[in-house]
Symmetry: D2
Subunit: 457 residues, 4 copies
């Protein structure tokens, strides 16, 4: 038996490859599916079944890409009217070598959500692992905010029942294979464990210790942001994303080519660090650091306008192409050949803003200068950690819609927890014509570590 | 948290890499340790601790190689007087990022055996996984035959206590990470599961359902073969194997160079298939197929005489070098350039014997010809599956010591379960001058599938 | 400037990647074109031009596959009416960074043949390398036998002129980049040099020392075999091969699946060694060793019947898939899971024949037994090296059409130069029902090395 | 025959692997020698000979590392008293398969310099390629400034004779394989060609068109910088560098560990871009960008003080380790875990300076402010391209020794050709306590492209 967890960094999404005796199944395959074919080759297996635990909303599912390569059948819950694949129902069973995969309908995160419990008939008639999708994570459970505020209590109850009536009864010794790990936008409290067990979750997952009413109240009160690209993912995953066959090849673009693209409308995605972006960047570019792309690109990148990457040294851009490909961004035009230095070596007009350390901010605040302190962290972080006294709060993902709240005639100091989202926020403001913007290096984390005071509501 | 199981095929041995927050530990590292350094690099971690669950007997431990590269400390049980590393005792604890690793003395398989239970303090104060070494496997437990027949009941009882008093009380939800998977010579009944849990083992492992007396009786009655290279491994692992730094590079050897080596004493290790070996081979060579090297090379290969590999197409010989390196065979001289075809293209003297199908054997047996049918399977397989009527039994590993039982003046038909060990047995007999030898392709498996009768005691 | 020669083993075909200042061209790309995209990525280049030196006949050109990935334009000679790409004429020039690529029409091997001379304008106005396609090789020149015997003198003269009037005048210091290396079916005498120069060829290539009349007479007298798949390649390369996107994935096939395929018509391609094939094989299978596929598969494999591979250990089958993909065999169904041993372990009916050493043959010949000695080498080898006295000659590629010359009622001993083509020939005869067939291990080479006499006409 | 050029980027150094018929030689192997062993494995070859064209001064030769792995013999010129290997003399010949390698003493760049001419006896008795080391490059010849000004005319004449009497007479069609490509510190005018030929060099290399006197005068007048690490390389290469077995593994270092190291003396090597460095860096760190390490690390890095790398995202640090390993820097301690952002997230004290665009500089100059414009380019570049009016010149490599020429009480604007060396120069000044430093992004190149005036002497 071969079990492999394939993690997509950034998304913190897990696909699984499970094989036995020459055949294999893939659960929630990612779109760049060569990895599954490689595993099949390595272990002399034929992929025959693909399961989608639910219509994912945070990435493009790779089922069609994979099926086109290996001829496997696709299976998903029957509650969504998928334009491809086969609907399955509670109790449906499928055979993979000596393994028996049983479908369990587990609605709550989505209506079509299924879990798949696996029994190895060569050993015993009792299940040994379960793919829990976005129902149960290590240390957390799935979001229940996709059906509107009016339905939230109802679907939270459904999730509670799915977990308590379907998953937990499988037995303490059953290995739990969730669709997300720590860092996913699909669960803020997911523990940094690749696998868990039913027993360990029962013992340690705070959500599982609540009774039904507590659970529902907790979930109803929970706050989640909904990146706008989720709608696009849901469409693609329900009706079938276009087949690409491979992650797009990135073309190097000379400065002249970049300027032509700029003249016709282009999104310049600057993936450099906050320091590098602050000291110089192409006017109008958006600052999202590498690890932040999965969480933030979906707020700011349009699917219909070509994207050009800007880096310092153009290192590992294939990773960036993969990140964006998984989010359905097939509109990557290329990258700036020679990196941002090619831009300044060409003597082109360059934008910049200041990057302050917390010491600098503190000194300026001490001078009682007029400035607008803008906290762009998510609200949970602000509430838990505290904030710099006097700062206003707008979540970075909502900044484009709420700039009326940010004065243009004052120096705006943007800060987050570390300095990355601050750079993103500052880049958004600069694009919108804010004349004086500063990013705080280190953000709230550095502010506290350096011993400055945090305010709390 | 990063948990990776690194499996060495053939040996079916598992090493583990476990990392958290920038530091990592490796459990039972294999000798070609680059894989651990790669993992550390990939995840920006520093390997600080190496645990050896016991003085392994089936492979050379890679602790010293790894420590020389990364500066980690080595830890092992205090009951063996290791010439390197640090002894640990029950209850000793070590910190890896947010993880707390607690040593549990678990004697039985060896006296110095330890298990390591791991708690993630970032989540809870209850353990979530345990490295069980050779104490507990998925579906089986460790061997208890290393201390002589007279001690077998006593050490079997110790193993029972180690499992029942130390490992099982950790809780059903604890993930079990054993040192061996299916196919290891360290446990005949190991299930083909990479991971298990305490709960699943309690529910399904037949050894865990026995009471202490049943367990001890079962273990005392159990039959195991003891490959002679085990002694060499124990020596190396106790006193420290020589540092090599890398798997040996294999040199291509022209036919003239091979013949020179043959004149001075060499071991020709023929890794081709039973069909290819039967139709032609260098006189005096030993036939062990690729996957069989880990289980059988240790019976036949001398550590002091140079080894030369013979293949058909010289494919993936690096894998072979790794297999033998892990077993301490640092005496690889090279491989026959051009493969065995180079030998026959040079017009050199070639040995061969017949390879019969089961249909051919049946026909010959029908003719009542005089022949000696030699079953070289392990005795458990003979007893479970049955045997070809009229066959004698000598386990292939014992064949060199028991040839007095095999007549030289009759046609000897060697068979096993499939045809591979039959080829090995036949090659041993040819080396010893047996004039008429046949290998049965497909062995007992094909005999039964083709509908011929099996005898049973 | 980046110049890379990409060699396809077996075919001994060379593609070239040539890049300068961010742009690149590929000459004669092979069908599995990822390698060129990788080079472009590695060197931050965009592939803008693809040149085909001629309508190749020994492999499927990868221009369309590559153009679909990178958007490059395709260029080839105007004398063939290609269904894709752009025709070019003598003197056409193209710019790649600082490089100027000039087209030279060089008919002879084909009518549409072009060479491409490259000047680096950053250094000087004199060319420094030339892509010579199949016009000029290291130590040989292209074949001129594709237009029928009646045109051979004429096209040989054209080739002479192309070389002497176009290529050689470029200057002695110009690097020669030919489309084939040693081992290609496109030139028997190609030297084992990756690159050459005009000067070195003028000094050492025997074909270049002839005057026009000598050259034409030599080329007219030259003997070449024409594998039947050449016609298929010419069709595909003129009208455009189907786009695949990737080398086919090979599926493992259980014995039951293989037998089903056999019932419906399948080609079993056995890629094992002559010894392994002789001692047992699936009835009806064809024996072609790995390195022999490029030269011999095209004689025996049908494009319309599925192909199943049979190996011993299923090693590196991706290479085999690549070889066949380059020859247009998109009909690979999969491979026998578990290799040929799975067949005999299933107790299935197995065919075999004897493999003799030269010593055995000599002994049998000494006994004056009735046998038919069949030499299947190419005729040039037979003429140069001599033959075993009493042997008949039929080139292995012509064997299926000339079996009327081989008696069925006698033992047929097939031999070649080494034993591989002998195995192929023997497998063909067995398929056709010849009851008694032997392959000579080592063939004529071993015969001579062992000191036995060679006959000559 | 297999010929492979192995290029070490940055150094622009070429090693060569040349193999024939199962044996191979390596010319000027680099220190991380796994690449040669891989080639030997891939082509079933045994490396038997290693040639050093001369006692290299710009990198650590890998002969001893390689010989330790494969058992090859090392050969070098007899004029230096090497502590290892074998001296060779003019006319010595060595056989590699069908190849004959003839040593030619070619003093000038060094006294011990040899070239190796290769003849393929399977083809002809005339040489087809020559390894020219640092005697002849594509478009340039070797430096002749290592023996003091008083000997420069004499050794330049020796180089002239070596080239004209030994290398050029080999014939126009001979392929030239030099030890360096474009970008090497060993020749400013080396063309961006991987290979050349004697004929092409005769036709295009301006140095080869001079007569002896012109050549000597030109070489005597030529200006070269001599990085201080050259002396260390010469020592190591003459007496044998320490054997490491592999490129050092880099350890991630937490901020606390970095600060401890800083307390005890450490070199912080910041490999980020000029923009990133300007906006924030660890006080006292040196700014050398990735591609600049080979040319500039040797001026500033001490061999006896530990080195810690600082990057933005810690990408591809293995490449950096390789660069420094090749220059003998075995004192790499590790890298800042989390990159420079970890530093500012910890709230640590951060240094910074301004990065100006050329537009900003022009505006400031227009305001007639007091500032010190410091040009740190090499003098050839300044002379060829011109300079910003009013700027002083100190080559960046000489800056530490000439700071007395740079006023501390004025704003110092450092510029180079592009902005990278400017960042390095500015970092040097900051370390030395200069209070006001600016780096000019884009440097002289941007200045000219933006249309500002260049001065010339």
């Amino acid at each position: 038996m071969i079990l492999r967890q394939i993690t997509s960094p950034g998304l913190a999404h897990n696909s699984y490859f499970l094989g036995s005796q020459g055949t294999a199944t893939v659960i929630d395959p990612r779109r760049d599916c060569e990895v599954f074919l490689d595993l099949a080759r390595e272990h002399d297996m034929r992929i025959t079944h693909i399961f989608e635990t639910h219509r994912n909303e945070d990435y493009v599912i790779g089922s069609l890409e994979l099926a086109a390569r290996c001829g496997a059948e696709i299976f998903h819950g029957h509650e969504t009217d998928f334009a491809f694949g086969n609907p399955v129902r509670d109790g449906d069973e499928f055979t993979i070598g000596s393994l028996r995969c049983r479908v369990m309908e587990t609605p709550g995160h989505t209506m079509d959500h299924i879990a798949v419990a696996v029994t190895d008939t060569a050993v015993a008639d009792t299940p040994f692992l379960v793919f829990t999708g976005d129902a149960l994570f290590a240390g957390d459970v799935g979001r229940t905010d996709f059906f509107g505020r009016e339905n939230r209590a109802r679907v939270s109850g459904m999730l509670y029942d799915s977990i308590h009536e379907k998953i937990l009864p499988l037995g303490d010794g059953v290995i739990v294979c969730p669709a997300h790990g720590a860092g996913s936008v699909c669960g803020a409290e997911i523990a940094d464990h690749e696998f868990s067990t039913v027993g360990y979750e029962k013992a340690t997952n705070p959500l599982l210790k609540m009774d039904r009413q507590e659970f529902v109240e907790y979930k109803v009160a929970e706050h989640h942001y909904l990146p706008p690209y989720f709608r696009q993912m849901e469409q693609l995953n329900q009706f079938g994303p276009p087949l690409r066959g491979h992650v797009p090849d990135l073309a190097p673009l000379e400065i002249g080519q970049v300027k032509n693209l700029m003249a016709n409308g282009v999104q310049l995605l600057d993936i450099r660090s906050p320091t590098s972006f602050a000291a110089g960047h192409v006017p109008g570019s958006i600052s999202i650091w590498r690890e932040g792309l999965s969480a933030y690109a979906g707020y700011f990148l349009d699917y219909t306008v070509p994207v050009v990457l800007v880096d310092d040294f153009n290192l590992d851009l294939g990773d960036i192409a993969e990140f964006l490909f998984r989010m359905g961004y097939d509109n990557l035009e290329g990258y700036m050949a020679g990196g941002f230095p090619a831009w300044f070596k060409a003597g082109e007009r360059t934008d910049k803003f200041e990057a302050w350390t917390v010491q600098e901010l503190s000194a300026v605040l001490g001078e009682k200068k007029e400035l607008f302190l803008l906290d762009v962290r998510d609200i949970d972080n602000r509430n838990e950690v505290g904030y710099i006294p006097g700062s206003s709060h707008i979540y970075v993902g909502e900044l484009p819609d709420r700039t009326c709240e940010v004065p243009k005639d004052r120096l705006v100091v943007v800060y987050c927890d570390s300095g990355y989202k601050g750079s993103l926020g500052a880049s958004i403001l600069r694009r919108l014509g804010y004349p004086s913007v500063v990013n705080l290096l280190g953000g709230m984390g550095a502010w506290i570590k350096a011993g400055y005071p945090a305010a709390r509501k």
